[in-house]
């Protein structure tokens, strides 16, 4: 029991100390640059308004899915930096399809979502194929595919989209396809989007596939030791392709709750940057489905609270990005420290057990 307690404490040690360190450094930076650190801290740690709580939940869901998408690759030592491009291409494609309103009712939700999955997977699959067949590092190819995705969707949107005022957008979906969601407070505080539930399904699915299936075992084994995986009969090339496809498929879903819940068209309402947030959150959550929940919630919390900085203090909103950056950096360092400590702990336990030859009792040194 105390063992369990110690393990839990160890697990929490890294993120908690990282947050503390990040807050201290951020406060120091604000103070040095002439701002008021106490203002910053009091805003960040104030109780959020209902409206912001709703936003936090919605944002957590999007960030969480992005974190999962990145984590699938990370678990296999695949650095899929391309979640950003994958969900952008998928979001544009799904929005265009849904906007065309070819399918009636709920089908106009399901089919575009499936399309988003396919597009995300395909976009990631390009990087997977390049890696497997040509040995191109997925880091390079996904970064380049991000740039291509931005330009491509921009071009297509400009060419085929609706020009409204200064903006361009895809055709908005019919009202029958809106999936607004559930209002936990008043209507003015906004809804928690229906499709935010996708995050829950994906989280559970991720956990089950990774921990309970042969495929998940092969994937984890490849990430832990590629040489051992090969020796055990895993075809690493195939695993690389599969996990890139999976990663992209999840990425395709990232923006769907916002699209059906609020935006209704792809254009200025599209929320960019979630793909990169996902990478940080996956790191923060140690690529574990439960850990990523906390990471996503923390980032969503900080983002929303930061919006109030401009209104209530003279501290810049960007400060919060410094905080997030430091959290990620220090958490990576702390995880390594904790990991080594854990190994030492285990080795000690083994050593306590090991020298157990018959004539032991009287010779145990204090």
């Amino acid at each position: 029991m105390s063992d369990l307690l110690r393990r839990t404490a160890l697990t929490l040690l890294a993120p908690v100390s990282a947050i503390v360190v990040a807050m201290i450094i951020t406060s120091a930076l604000i103070a040095v640059s002439g701002g008021s650190a106490t203002d910053f801290l009091s805003v960040i740690f104030s109780v959020p308004e209902n409206r912001l709580i709703v936003n936090m939940i919605n944002q957590s869901a999007l960030i969480y899915m992005s974190g999962l998408a990145a984590a699938i690759g990370f678990r296999m030592n695949l650095f899929n930096i391309g979640v950003e491009g994958q969900y952008r291409v998928a979001s544009y494609g799904a929005a265009t399809l849904a906007g065309a309103a070819i399918f009636p009712g709920i089908l106009n939700v399901i089919i575009p979502i499936l399309f988003a999955i396919v597009l995300g997977a395909a976009w990631a699959g390009i990087a997977g194929l390049l890696k497997v067949t040509r040995g191109v590092s997925e880091v390079i190819s996904t970064i380049m595919l991000n740039a291509i995705a931005i330009t491509l969707t921009g071009y297509l949107l400009n060419k085929y989209g609706q020009h409204v005022g200064n903006g361009v957008r895809t055709t908005p979906i019919p009202e029958s396809s809106h999936l607004t969601g559930w209002y936990p407070f008043t209507r003015a505080d906004g809804p928690v989007w229906t499709l935010a539930i996708l995050a829950v399904f994906l989280g559970v699915g991720f956990w089950v596939v990774l921990n309970k299936t042969r495929f998940g075992f092969d994937l984890r084994a490849t990430g832990l030791s590629e040489t051992a995986a090969v020796a055990s009969g895993v075809k690493v090339g195939r695993m690389v392709l599969y996990s890139m496809l999976l990663s992209g498929a999840v990425a395709g879903l990232i923006w769907m709750p916002a699209f059906y819940g609020a935006a209704h068209s792809y254009g200025t309402a599209f929320q960019a940057g979630l793909g990169f947030t996902g990478i940080a959150v996956a790191l923060l959550g140690r690529n574990q489905p439960v850990g990523i929940i906390f990471g996503a919630a923390l980032f969503a919390f900080l983002n929303e609270q930061a919006n109030r900085l401009t209104i209530e203090t003279d501290v810049s909103v960007s400060v919060v990005q410094i905080t997030q950056g430091i959290i990620v950096l220090s958490v990576v360092v702390m995880y390594e420290v904790v990991r080594r400590y854990r190994i030492r702990l285990e080795q000690r336990q083994v050593a306590e057990r090991e020298p157990a030859p018959p004539p032991a009792p009287e010779e145990v040194p204090a």
Partner: protein, 512 residues
């Protein structure tokens, strides 16, 4: 050199050394006296505390209790730099050389202040090499050197830094018998020049051949001292383990007529067209152990990987029980009943950061009891891991322990137990007892012998010639990717085998 004090006739004296790690006492009450100008052997099983003691003497770790006296002076080392200043140098088991640098560059690396990096240094190295008969050219690239020469470069590095006391950690582990003889000649040369050698080993015949004094360690402490003239291998072994040494010898042949594995003209060519394996053909029958002898790096790894389907043969066929499996992938070969104990267990056989029971699944991802259908069978895998832990005597607090935390011997027992699961018909065992203590070694030999009696075919690759001769029914010698000789383990001696392995002109005609 006139030593005023009598005590300073001893190069090193360790008194009452105790080193505790949290929860473990690695060394306690260690007393060793090493006379100047002698070769002193420190022997003991893996885990007896030799390495910790050497780290203490070399300043890597500080003892909790006890004193270190070097040349009559009490010393406290905070780092290896302090040890080097007192004339203590260490040659580690794993060479620490940069392949793409020359001998000169490797030697001066980190010691640039001594004699610079130019001609002065070159002359000094050439001089040391000449005096002690190392035969090392300072300007040759290290990648061109063989294992024996690399070791001499390591020793050279230590001498160059002015060491008078040289610690050698298991220096013969990587050498063939001929190279061992050459090393011993070098060590005797050093001894005659007044150097003190501390020689760590668990090979008793070598210790008896080279040492002036022997200290035996067991369970973290020194349990006895001996002089080579007055002690037998048998007695030393008993001091080391507290019981008798096991032998790999198999009683009677269990070879049958059923052909199990056949390699026919297997050739492996790398992308640059070099032949790593040339026209390898052999047959293993049920119940037969085929040993492959050879200096490491002569194609053993490639041979194993070709049989396992990790590398695809460029020509030739591999068949299992008459079925051509040349085109099968690794998983299909494993499913057909091939177990594999790889040479590098950390790289190829374990997920170090996963618990033992997950390691049970590795290599068995498609077979019960580890999995059921597409799902991992957690309870099945755990139960079977517990069986392995029990039957193979894996010392662990539990099956949730990370495999990294186990000692090498226990990791190896787990691997052997796993690969023997699901009744394999062929076992490929590369260095199955390397880095494993005597107790685990005996257990592993026993498991192989038992399985062999039940009809298991074994391909055994080992650098331990005694093991090879003791366990094998037939021995093939591999040299530069070719099978160059077949020898009868009943009649061959390690010396003859060593000659065949190096392709040397044998003085005795042992190999056909």
């Amino acid at each position: 050199m006139a030593d005023a004090e009598a005590g300073s006739r001893d190069a090193v004296r360790l008194r009452g050394i105790t080193k505790r790690f949290p929860g473990v006492v690695a060394n306690h009450d260690v007393d060793i006296t090493i006379g100047r100008g002698t070769v002193h052997a420190l022997i003991g099983e893996n885990g007896a505390g030799k390495s910790t003691l050497m780290k203490i003497l070399y300043g890597v770790q500080r003892p909790d209790e006890g004193t270190i006296t070097v040349n009559g002076d009490d010393v406290t080392f905070h780092s290896p730099t302090d040890a080097i200043e007192h004339g203590i140098g260490m040659v580690f088991q794993d060479f620490m050389l940069a392949d793409n640098l020359t001998v000169l560059e490797n030697v001066v690396l980190g010691a640039e202040k001594l004699r610079g990096i130019g001609d002065k240094a070159r002359d000094a190295i050439a001089e040391i090499s000449r005096v002690y008969g190392f035969g090392i050219d300072p300007d040759v690239l290290v990648e061109r050197l063989g294992v024996g020469d690399r070791q001499r470069v390591e020793i050279l590095k230590v001498l160059y830094r002015g060491a008078q006391i040289v610690i050698l950690d298991e220096p013969t582990a990587v050498l063939v018998p001929q190279e061992v003889d050459a090393l011993f000649d070098n060590l005797r040369g050093l001894k005659n020049e007044g150097y003190t050698i501390l020689f760590i080993s668990h090979k008793l015949d070598e210790v008896l051949a080279i040492a002036d004094d022997i200290t035996v360690m067991r369970q973290g402490t020194t349990v006895g001292e001996a002089k080579p003239g007055s002690v037998t291998e048998h007695q030393l072994a008993e001091m080391m383990v507290g019981s008798e040494l096991p032998s790999p010898e198999t009683a009677e042949s269990t070879v049958t007529d059923d052909v199990l594995l056949t390699l026919d003209g297997v050739t492996l060519t790398d992308e640059r067209g070099r032949q790593l394996l040339s026209d390898i053909s052999f047959t293993i029958h049920r119940g037969e152990v085929l040993g492959i002898a050879g200096v490491e790096g002569n194609g053993q790894e490639e041979l194993v990987e070709t049989i396992m389907g990790i590398q695809a043969a460029s020509a030739g066929t591999v068949s299992l029980q008459g079925k051509d499996m040349t085109e099968w992938d690794t998983r299909e070969r494993r499913e057909a009943g091939i177990g594999w104990i790889p040479a590098d267990r950390h790289r190829h056989a374990l997920l170090l950061d996963s618990p033992l029971w997950e390691n049970r699944i590795l290599g068995f991802q498609t077979r019960e009891p580890a999995v059921r259908g597409l799902w991992i069978d957690r309870s099945g895998a755990r139960t079977d891991t517990e069986r392995i832990v029990r039957e193979y005597d894996v010392r662990t607090p539990g099956i949730d322990t990370l495999s990294r935390a186990l000692s090498g011997g226990n990791q190896q027992k787990l691997i052997v137990g796993r690969e023997m699961s699901n009744d394999p018909i062929l076992l490929i065992a590369s260095h199955p007892t390397r880095g494993v203590d005597v107790g685990a070694q005996a257990a592993i030999w026993e498991h192989i012998k038992t399985a062999r009696r039940k009809g298991l075919a074994v391909l055994l690759i080992s650098a331990d010639l005694d093991e090879l001769i003791g366990l094998s029914d037939t021995i093939e010698v591999i040299l530069r990717g070719r099978l160059v000789a077949e020898v009868d383990p009943q009649t061959v001696t390690p010396q003859q085998l060593g000659s065949a392995m190096t392709g040397g002109d044998d003085d005795e005609e042992g190999a056909a």
